[in-house]
């Protein structure tokens, strides 16, 4: 298999319940370092697609590969840290922005990772247009748009290879929406991550990116 295929689905079938088949015999290969925009109506399976990749769901049949190895051959915590799934609704713990950014480092499997110092965190905040946010302020008081970007940073700090963004702009107004979209693009262009971003809305600069369409129980690349 080609080394630059970072994620591969091989004949994957997946149903939530017997009566709702989401994917049927899905086979697709995704390249490293590319920004993919995932389109599809609500319920087409955008979240399921992501959840299968980071093993929050198991396929009923078929296999999913990450860097050429089956996702089930990785330790789940290592897999999820390498393929970081950022949920639709950003979730903060009731603590400072710093604690929110660093709390993944408290987990056993992340303890060997170097915990970034404050100046590095500040750089990230600048980079994601969060200059006004102090590391000591409580994250609960941030707006959804700000919180979404805090979650982006929290993900990047674990140095993943792939970032899965599940409708990061669904709860945002148009203005914040374009900021978050450009930050998402930045994670690919500046930080070199493979980014998969789901959106049921349009995307302002669609033609610049690879588009994957989800419909009829499968995923197709649009050319």
């Amino acid at each position: 298999m080609n080394a630059q295929n970072i994620i591969e689905f091989n004949c994957v079938t997946f149903a939530y319940f017997a009566d709702t088949v989401i994917f049927k015999d899905l086979s697709i290969k995704l390249d490293e370092g590319v920004f993919y925009l995932i389109k599809g109506v609500s319920g087409a399976g955008k979240s399921s697609f992501f959840r299968l990749i980071n093993r929050l769901e198991e396929p009923d049949s078929g296999e999913i590969f990450f860097k050429g190895k089956s996702v089930s051959s990785y330790r789940p915590s290592v897999l999820r840290r390498s393929i970081l799934y950022i949920q639709q609704t950003p979730l903060a713990i009731d603590a400072s922005v710093r604690d929110n950014l660093l709390f993944p480092f408290s987990f056993k499997s992340n303890r060997n990772l170097l915990k970034p110092a404050d100046d590095k965190l500040m750089l990230y905040l600048d980079d994601f247009c969060l200059q006004g946010v102090s590391l000591d302020s409580n994250a609960i008081n941030l707006s959804t748009g700000q919180l979404q970007r805090i979650c982006f940073i929290r993900g990047l700090l674990l140095s993943p290879d792939v970032i899965l963004l599940d409708e990061p702009t669904s709860a945002l107004d148009k203005n914040t929406c374009s900021i978050v979209e450009s930050m998402a693009a930045q994670m690919c262009l500046k930080y070199g991550k493979t980014v998969l971003m789901a959106s049921h809305k349009g995307f302002e600069s669609e033609q610049e990116y690879e588009v994957l369409e989800l419909s009829k129980q499968t995923v197709k690349k649009r050319n």
Binding site: L56, E58, P76, S77, Y85, L91, F107, K108, G155
Partner: protein, 263 residues
């Protein structure tokens, strides 16, 4: 001891049914719709206790270790069934693991109390083992049911938070540690509260029985302390084991939460 106790005749016994009639009348008058359950409950209490009385008589006479263990297993099985019917969440099949872990932890506690603390000889002497074991089972059963209900509830309602932690590299234990703590706490609180209130708010059951039967209150106290601590021990052990096992069952081999809500 037996000389000191006043016999209650059947005529006198029937007088306590006045309480049920008063309760039932209040329920009918205020349309509370609990009169039916009250009557069923009262009848069941009478039938079950009369049966128990005769079964105990037989068991005391036969005095056989296997029979005692069989009764103990039956009580445990019934407790596990009660837990199963009280916990509405059936997506994970937990009946067999729960009944196994309940019987093991109840047996250990009941054995320690009869063999090591009270030093009954033999340890399975039905006069001690069955009533003490019954208290262990009955009290822990409530704690297990409350804790299990809470565990499954929170695993469902906090799914988003659990998955967020999993996504950042937490293992399933780290992702659900506060939920386990909450479940344990809610199961344990009733027996901790009753330790706090013992002797001040109420005279606990076994002591009441022994005092009425004519025992020295100083001895009755010692038994009561054994019983109260035994109950806290058995509720915490059985709740912890059951909660940990069921939590494990709720996560798959890929450390993903298996409980899902239909959407």
């Amino acid at each position: 001891m037996e000389a000191g106790i006043i016999n209650v005749g059947y005529m006198q016994l029937s007088i306590v049914f006045i309480f049920i009639f008063i309760g039932g009348a209040v329920s009918v008058y205020h349309s509370l719709n609990i009169e039916y359950d009250m009557i069923i409950g009262a009848v069941r209490t009478c039938v079950q206790l009369f049966l128990l009385g005769y079964v105990l008589k037989v068991i005391f006479v036969l005095n056989n270790v296997w029979l005692v263990l069989l009764i103990f297993l039956f009580m445990t099985f019934f407790a596990a069934r009660t837990v199963y019917s009280r916990v509405k969440d059936r997506e994970i099949s937990f009946f067999i693991p729960v009944s196994l872990s309940m019987s093991i932890s109840f047996f250990i506690v009941a054995f320690i109390v009869t063999a090591v603390v009270v030093r009954v000889d033999p340890w399975w002497n039905p006069r001690y083992f069955i009533p003490l074991g019954g208290m262990v089972i009955g009290n822990s059963m409530n704690a297990v049911a409350i804790a299990l209900e809470r565990l499954l509830n929170e695993l469902r309602s906090k799914r988003h938070e659990i998955e967020m932690k999993l996504c950042f590299g937490a293992d399933y234990k780290e992702a659900s540690i506060d939920i386990v703590a909450n479940a344990m706490r809610s199961g344990m609180i009733p027996s901790i509260n009753s330790m706090m209130a013992a002797g001040i708010v109420f005279i606990p059951g076994i002591m009441t029985g022994q005092i009425i039967a004519g025992a020295d209150p100083a001895l009755a106290i010692k038994y009561q302390i054994v019983v109260m601590l035994m109950l806290v021990g058995s509720t915490s052990i059985s709740t912890l084991i059951v909660v940990l096992i069921v939590r494990k069952l709720c996560f798959g081999t890929g450390e993903q939460l298996l409980l899902r809500s239909r959407f």
